[in-house]
């Protein structure tokens, strides 16, 4: 199983409520995925890059992290801690140097995402508890994607939870399972693509990033995934500008979409959408198999 929710706002007036609406959708999908939950939220762009990091010992690791990075990078770094996660803000040209410094330091800090606007929060536990520990309902943004996990392909850990981000401001959530992820992981690693976990979805995300690094648009990368990825999938992909949806040609994994003048919404089931404003008058439909959909600002 697994549950996916996504919300792309057309109406700016709803932006302060994005976190609250997505949280409600996420909690409704608990019975599709009670073991872990995560959310990628696309907020306002500043003039610096954002790096979302996670630690199992946040009090210890985050206490000195900003200072350590400032020394390593020779540039100002701020840190905003949120439970086991923290968002670092730093000059955009220092992201790779910051990743290296974080990897080299003692302790185990994982980088969840980097980009101009994306923040990713994910942990093991019931979606309700995950949402509450990060105070997701208080978050605002232009679009966001959430996932509730029922693990099949890798262990129930923070690294195994969705969304996965393998490129700046990119993320992927997945319902299904990929069967050629081991061979594809080896191939992508040979190409120099960074893949951190043994999870099948991360390979899917890395594949799309790799395609785009080689000149494909997101739409072309998603089209290519229909040929190169073997297995079952309904994917929802986030980028800085918007989100996309694609389902494999067999399309066993459910998907419902709704569109009004105010938003485009995605849910694994219609239940996830029932509290959205104006849903009774929304256009509700099932995305076609092997068809790429995308909405952007």
């Amino acid at each position: 199983m697994c549950g996916i929710v996504g919300l792309f706002l057309k109406d700016k007036a709803l932006e302060p409520q994005l976190g609250a609406m997505l949280t409600e959708m996420l909690i409704t999908m608990t019975d599709r995925g009670p073991d872990s939950a995560g959310i990628a939220i696309y907020g306002a762009a500043g003039n610096r890059a954002k790096l979302t990091v996670q630690s199992d010992n946040p009090d210890q690791d985050f206490a000195t992290l900003a200072k350590e990075l400032e020394e390593a990078l020779g540039a100002p770094v701020t840190l905003r801690a949120n439970d086991t996660h923290a968002v670092l803000e730093l000059p955009a040209d220092q992201v790779e140097a910051a990743r290296t410094a974080i990897a080299d330091r003692p302790g185990r800090i994982r980088v969840m995402s980097d980009g101009d606007v994306i923040e990713i929060y994910k942990e093991v536990g019931l979606p309700r508890n995950v949402a509450s520990r990060f105070n997701l309902p208080s978050m605002s943004g232009t679009h966001g994607i959430g996932h509730t996990r029922m693990a099949t392909e890798s262990a129930v850990t923070t690294e195994g939870a969705h969304p996965f981000s393998t490129g700046p401001d990119q993320c992927l959530v997945h319902n299904g399972s990929l069967s050629n992820h081991n061979s594809l992981r080896r191939k992508l690693r040979r190409e120099g693509v960074r893949i951190e976990s043994e999870n099948d979805t991360e390979v899917g995300a890395a594949y799309l990033t790799w395609k785009m690094q080689n000149g494909a648009t997101l739409g072309e990368a998603l089209e290519a995934s229909l040929t190169d990825l073997d297995g079952f999938f309904t994917f929802v992909v986030g980028t800085k500008e918007g989100f996309g949806v694609v389902r494999d040609p067999i399309a066993c994994k459910p998907a419902v979409m709704a569109e009004t003048d105010q938003y485009v919404a995605f849910g694994s089931e219609y239940r996830a959408l029932v509290n959205l404003p104006g849903i009774d008058a929304a256009r509700v439909w099932e995305p076609e198999p092997a068809t790429v959909y995308f909405w952007s600002h």
Binding site: P249, I250, A251, C252, P254, V256, E269, Y270, R271, A272, L273, V274, D280, V284, W285, E286, E288, P289
Partner: protein, 225 residues
């Protein structure tokens, strides 16, 4: 008319109430409010009652139906009217995958589109879809009739037994052992009756009939790889 509001009544209570109906009294019309995509709504009914669902439903709506008429004023999730035995299920909107799967009898009418695997393994049910149907529909269908007023997706009727398939629009591709067949007078008559019962305004002459070539019925060594 009795109303049950799912905002204040549990799904289990609703289904128990409907399943307890034996017919024969005056309480034959039921209206369900606020379905909000709930799963397994109005399942296992076994009385000549009329149930109207005011909104969209989730998985397995009206599954295992016998005798009852269930009318959904919205769209339905996967597996609507799964394993229906008799009665009728009418969906005003669209249906998700495997609508009417394994149904033994009764009539399923979908006024919008049905997605993949519509009528998979159907065993005697009649299904009338006013819109289009998705891929792998009527896979291993054994008996009954599937009428599609729009187009059919890939691999229609793959590994079909004796179900009859009628399509008015295009068929993207036929599945293994499914072929177009001659439309004879008895088929036109059967189709006219199905369209009439489904309340669809369409001419039987506009449809084409598909059925089993019966080449997969017996093991054929030449089919082995």
């Amino acid at each position: 008319m009795s109303q049950i509001d799912l905002a204040t009544t549990s799904l289990r209570e609703l289904n128990e109430t409907l399943q307890a109906q034996k017919g024969g009294d005056n309480q034959t019309a039921w209206e369900i409010l606020n379905p909000r995509g709930s799963h397994a709504l109005a399942v296992g009914l076994d009385a000549p009652i009329e149930v109207t669902v005011k909104g969209h439903t989730g998985y397995y709506c009206a599954g295992m139906n016998q005798q009852a008429t269930v009318h959904v004023e919205g769209s339905v999730g996967p597996g609507v009217a799964e394993n229906m035995m008799s009665g009728a299920v009418i969906v005003e909107g669209d249906a998700s995958q495997y609508a009417g799967a394994t149904g033994h009898g009764g009539l399923l009418v979908i006024k919008g589109n049905a997605s993949s695997r519509c009528g998979i393994s159907m065993k005697g049910i009649d299904i009338v879809v006013q819109g289009n149907i998705g891929h792998m529909s009527a896979f291993m269908a054994q008996a009954g009739n599937l009428v599609v007023c729009g187009d059919a997706g890939d691999a229609l009727g793959d590994s079909l037994y004796e179900a009859r398939l009628f399509v008015r629009g295009s068929v993207k591709s036929l599945g293994a052992d499914c072929i177009e067949k001659e439309m004879r007078a008895e088929h036109l008559e059967l189709l006219a009756d199905l369209l009439d019962r489904a309340g669809v305004d369409a001419k039987p002459e506009e449809f084409r009939r598909y059925g089993s070539a019966r080449k997969l019925y017996n093991f054929d060594i030449d089919n082995a790889y």
